[in-house]
Symmetry: C2
Subunit: 406 residues, 2 copies
């Protein structure tokens, strides 16, 4: 078994934390597994480095910022290797030059291009735990570049792919992917087994801790992902092509209270009106989330969309300024909205799911102002005050506290 | 003009210090010079890294310690490049992988093997100031290794050699190489121009700030070295093959009050006795400095040597324990000794120098207990209390406060 284990920088701030990380590596190493650990810069170190740069320049060059920031993960990787050695196992730390990690694109937001894993394979052959500095690669100029937020997660998944690992495990501060936010829904539980597709949705919903890009890449390589707790020795959530255990109609329910609804009323009912509206918003850098187009009255059309709270003003202003190009009657903004989303591959081909969801909300007297559905997902816009109630109602209606097998 | 400038880690601890360093680079850059700056890890950073490692393990592996410590110079180099950019010049930082610095030998004490300066040459061609992380190289295993104490000085001289630089400048906290320690001798002055040979001796005497190995390497490449102040804009000391300005008989006078004299009396006057004595001491790890062998009485022999204060006890104990192998009458220790040394290529072929020195000491009523001379150097062991007086007497006798040209 070859396992790539990814540890967050927040779990590498102190010697004691590094020992916890090391122990999670050693447990499986002692079972005979080959271990590659990917680690980010410890948070304290990364913060200190960023601060040093900030004092020197308000806008340091991204190339030099990457030279500076990559020292964090290299140093933290070395400290983890020392910790592993102090606990009696062979270990070696590798930076991007040594681990053969090649990237392309801009500094601070590079993209992984290719990994030459030969050095890692050699070291594993010597029964050495290999610690790789995350979020860094060497570009065509032989320079170091970081991948940006979540970069170490990408490093981990790509290493798992290049090394044909048996799994890629993410050690986090949560026990796995939950059916709903446990702080809202007391009966929420950790999903044992989800598909890549469900995980993509769950990750988008914000209930997961890794970005959708990682899931996509893992799916491409067919590498199972595991999301589990660093602290608790629970199994966590496994993400793979086919689920085995879970048979529920939906996997999870999530709540987003940070989106407002904007409705543009009385648009002309003519081809291209939606295109022009969203093109205008895109050019103004407004992030549009859910879209609902509905027939208005008298041959006119209404288009509603949700967008982040802090972008509503820009959206409205942009549309008002474009009124000549894109005539409409009025704009209606609802700042009191919440978005409730359910997801799960189990709903494919089961038309009753949406109805069951609407029923659950109806029973709680919750009004739905927008509905949007896709193959795996149903999203409802409701009143913000009803958010928590809706999550619990849906969680209960679909018996998410139990697996189907139970 | 291509100049390699070496800056100490102690001058890179704060943004203000980094700006000072940057300004010294920019002065010459604006004159049209090509600048390569070599910088060590800022002291604060290096200390913090070493401490982190120390908490994890009492004896971290040297390979991992080098992985950790090299991040210091890479980070500091990036910070210096940012500082240069913030002052409006083009700059780039390079680590050992990027600067093409190859080493061999052990971690923590690697030796420079080869520099492929092509990347640096390209960058200089774009009128970019190149900042190189000092004290690091890549070994045959593609691993980072440090060179050990003074490693950044070696990096600087070797880069100067590989790039065929016009000079290699060391920015220090002193104004240059002095004729004597200014705290002892008020009339001490900075030497303007010394030969590599003299500098080797001066470096050994401790009045200089760079290790003899750097001088040797500079001599091999024929690169002039400059030792100058970071803070004061003085010319400093230039070290090269042929001196131009200085014509004094001696270059400098130095005092060492930390050496004690040990005399082994009544050794057998037979071949190999000196070899056996110093072999015994070497195996006991005693650092022997000056040696004087003199004929004793009745076919016996006396051997005196100086060694560091804290090793005298070990030396005496070792010799007492070896008395069967190496018989002697008694050991006499003088803990009240000081060593006065003069050096200078000007004394070659001038037999009067030693006599003039002895006269200067005689005039001050200073007794000489041991004398040792070599081509460039005269060393006298005197009473410790006479140390400062001797330095001043010699400084005056040889008019070291004036250059011959004056």
């Amino acid at each position: 078994m070859l396992t790539v284990k990814k540890f967050a920088g927040s779990s590498a701030g102190s010697p004691e934390q590094l020992r916890n990380v090391a122990r999670r590596c050693i447990e499986d190493y002692e079972k005979g597994d080959d271990i590659v650990a990917v680690i980010s810069s410890g948070d304290t170190l990364a913060g200190a480095l960023r601060k040093q740069a900030g004092v020197i320049s308000g806008s340091p060059s991204k190339r030099e910022l990457d030279m500076l920031m990559t020292t964090g993960a290299q140093g933290t990787a070395a400290l983890l290797a020392m910790t592993l050695e102090s606990l009696g196992v062979r270990a070696i730390s590798l930076n991007a030059f040594q681990a053969g990690i090649h990237v392309t694109g801009r500094y601070g937001e590079a993209r992984l291009k290719k990994i030459d894993g030969s050095r890692i394979v050699d070291e594993l052959g010597d029964r050495t735990i290999v610690v790789v500095a995350g979020d860094q690669g060497v570009n065509a100029y032989h320079d170091l570049a970081t991948l940006g937020p979540g970069g170490s997660n990408i490093t981990a998944v790509e290493l798992a792919g290049a090394l044909k690992a048996d799994s890629c495990e993410f050690y986090t501060d949560v026990d796995g992917i939950y059916t709903a936010d446990p702080s809202i829904c007391p009966r929420a539980r950790v999903l044992r087994d989800v598909t890549y597709g469900e995980m993509m949705d769950l990750a988008t919903l914000g209930t997961g801790s890794i970005q959708p890009e990682c899931v996509e890449r893992a799916k491409k390589y067919g590498i199972p992902l595991v999301i589990r707790s660093l602290e608790h020795k629970t199994e966590g959530t496994i993400v793979r092509e086919e689920t085995v255990l879970e048979k529920n109609l939906i996997s999870g329910v999530a709540l987003d209270k940070k989106a407002d609804r904007v409705s543009v009323l009385g648009l002309r009912d003519e081809p291209g009106v939606a295109y022009r509206l969203f093109d205008i918003l895109a050019k103004a850098q407004v992030n549009v989330d859910q879209i609902l187009q509905s027939l208005g009255h008298d041959g006119s059309e209404d288009i509603s969309f949700t967008c982040p709270e802090d972008q509503v003003e820009k959206a409205v202003e942009t549309l008002e300024n474009s009124r000549e190009k894109l005539p409409f009657t009025k704009i209606d903004v609802d700042r009191d909205t919440a978005k409730v989303m359910v997801t799960g591959s189990g709903m494919i081909g089961r038309p009753g799911v949406a109805a069951k969801l609407f029923e659950a909300l109806y029973n709680e007297n919750i009004n739905i102002s927008m509905i949007s559905t896709s193959e795996f997902r149903i999203t409802c816009i409701i009143s913000r005050k009803d958010g928590e109630k809706a999550v619990n109602a849906i969680h209960d209606a679909f018996s998410l506290d139990k697996t189907f097998a139970e």
